[in-house]
Symmetry: C2
Subunit: 307 residues, 2 copies
DNA sequence: TTGTAGGCGTTATCAG
DNA sequence: CTGATAACGCCTACAA
């Protein structure tokens, strides 16, 4: 692989001039510039990215720690992020992690000059202590000191609940996230919607991340009056819930309507359900914008999707 | 961020000694070594990866071009690859690409010293001309000059066909990949299985990547005798086929059994179907082994999964 | 066992 | 407008 010395020799100019021509480059005599470009062409020269990084103090790499659960959800985030980063001439260094230790480990390994910035995306578990400057994308329990961008869960829950009410459902159960900021937001939106329709709020209709779904749903159904709608955190749990309902011979959506609070990554061919869907492109765009140091909104609103 | 000079100063030794202690490190007086380690500890020193790369002529990064279609399939490959690379102390630089141009572009951008090696995974389209040393993982049309590791499609098709026959199905239709090496292998395995059971081969039961699935399946069903089993390339197409069959009021699997030739990444909660599943970990392991310069088998056999 | 010096490939500074 | 030259941070002969 040819280097800058080869080019400068062939073009009969100094390395400095070569560098000037290739980057920024103003104040170079046209003849020199052409000589350089010709040499670059014949040698098929491409500047070495590592050497540039060392000199620049910037690598153009962004470390992305994908902490989605289930892992399948990672693709959407990664695809959107990679596209947006590429658009800005940056590279995506990928790590997966499925617990706090894994995240901590990944952060450490990515924090040795390889990356200009680090991002954690989709974590649903409590994160380890974070160093400065880590960006959190749609993580359920954002640390206080970290910048974070995520979905507007409150708006989603309110929109969803309003929709269900508009469909004649008034006994709406809520399968919530594990306790945390997201769970609080969802609960808030849910209650607001109920309130504005003068529907009483029943605490026993709320389930915080039960360990086993089947008995939990059975309990909800056996209440009096039993629920006729079920809000779930995402499509994955929605499908599970629908399978359980089917097993208990409850017609979906006639008897019980299942609503997914995050249907952004509906699996192709899966049974459809009403949902709030988010633009992952928007998330990625705002995230990258934030990495570039710009100020951006911190909450992203989804839109209602009906089958 | 502390650098090697800070450490050497604090430890009262030369940079060379620091370097020796941290890497390889033989022939260092215990006291010096301890002084260095102490200094490293107090300064929280971590060698700069970029500078190491420049000096080493190796970055420890592997560029992975994810060309899976649909994109959802990427997760499994990426997860397995990242895990295996991490185990070897390497990083994964991610690009997505969904056509030959995208792949060519990605290859170019990853080929500027940032990566020690490049991998293309899951491409179902014809690849652009490849530079030396690119590794192809489960790409349908491997170029002649490239190293490639992929699934044993012939074995899969044969196993699948045998299974269907053992289930009493003798009219087995095949929805194949687009023409290429993989399609040929599948067809071969299919024919071998039929032959060994003395079942005649009917060319009209074979469909090469039809543009629209619904009419194609309708055609297969309307033949005399109509098929009672359908081999499809993957779960995604399997689900699609099952939806179409349901729409045409054909009971699955009673009337028509759908078999997926690659069920490695079955979506959770999706309707189950018999399939050949591959160990993506094995693929990743062999791939990384190959990147490290070792010789490995070039075909991976799946195993039969029945619901 | 240790330190000095040179090199890795670029970019930036500063004279000319 | 151009060319030396000094960083960038690390590794590694080679010499002591």
């Amino acid at each position: 692989m040819a280097n800058i010395n080869d080019v400068s020799r062939l073009a009969q100019v100094s390395k400095a001039t070569v560098s000037r021509v290739l980057s920024g480059s103003r104040g170079v005599r046209p003849e020199s510039r052409e000589a350089v470009l010709r040499a670059v062409e014949t040698l098929d020269y491409q500047p070495n990215a590592i050497a540039q990084s060392l000199s620049n103090h910037a690598t153009g790499c962004v470390g992305v720690i994908c902490a989605t659960e289930p892992m399948q959800l990672g693709t959407g985030y990664l695809y959107a992020l990679e596209g947006e980063l590429r658009r800005h001439g940056k590279h995506l260094l990928l790590r997966f992690a499925n617990d706090a230790d894994g995240v901590a480990h990944a952060l450490r390994e990515l924090g040795r000059g390889l990356c200009d910035a680090r991002v954690i995306v989709g974590a649903r578990f409590a994160l380890p202590p974070l160093p400065e400057g880590v960006l959190l994308l749609e993580c359920l329990t954002p640390a206080a000191n970290a910048h974070s961008i995520g979905f507007d869960h409150c708006f989603a829950a309110e929109t969803a609940t309003r929709y269900l009410i508009s469909q004649g459902r008034r006994n709406i159960a809520l399968l919530n996230h594990p306790a945390g900021e997201a769970a609080d937001s969802v609960l808030l939106g849910y209650r607001q919607a109920l309130e504005s329709h003068l529907i009483p709020y029943h605490r026993q209709r709320i389930l915080d991340a039960p360990s086993a779904l089947a008995p939990a749903i059975a309990t909800l159904l056996s209440q009096d009056p039993g629920c006729n709608a079920l809000l779930v955190p995402d499509d994955h749990q929605g499908r599970e819930a629908m399978a359980i309902l089917a097993a208990q011979r409850r017609a979906v959506p006639r008897e019980v309507m299942v609503f997914s609070l995050d249907g952004s990554q509906a699996a192709p061919g899966a049974p459809p359900m009403p949902a709030i869907a988010y633009s992952l492109e928007a998330l990625a765009q705002q995230g990258v914008e934030r990495l570039l140091g710009h100020d951006v909104a911190t909450r992203i609103r989804g839109r209602l999707i009906t089958p």
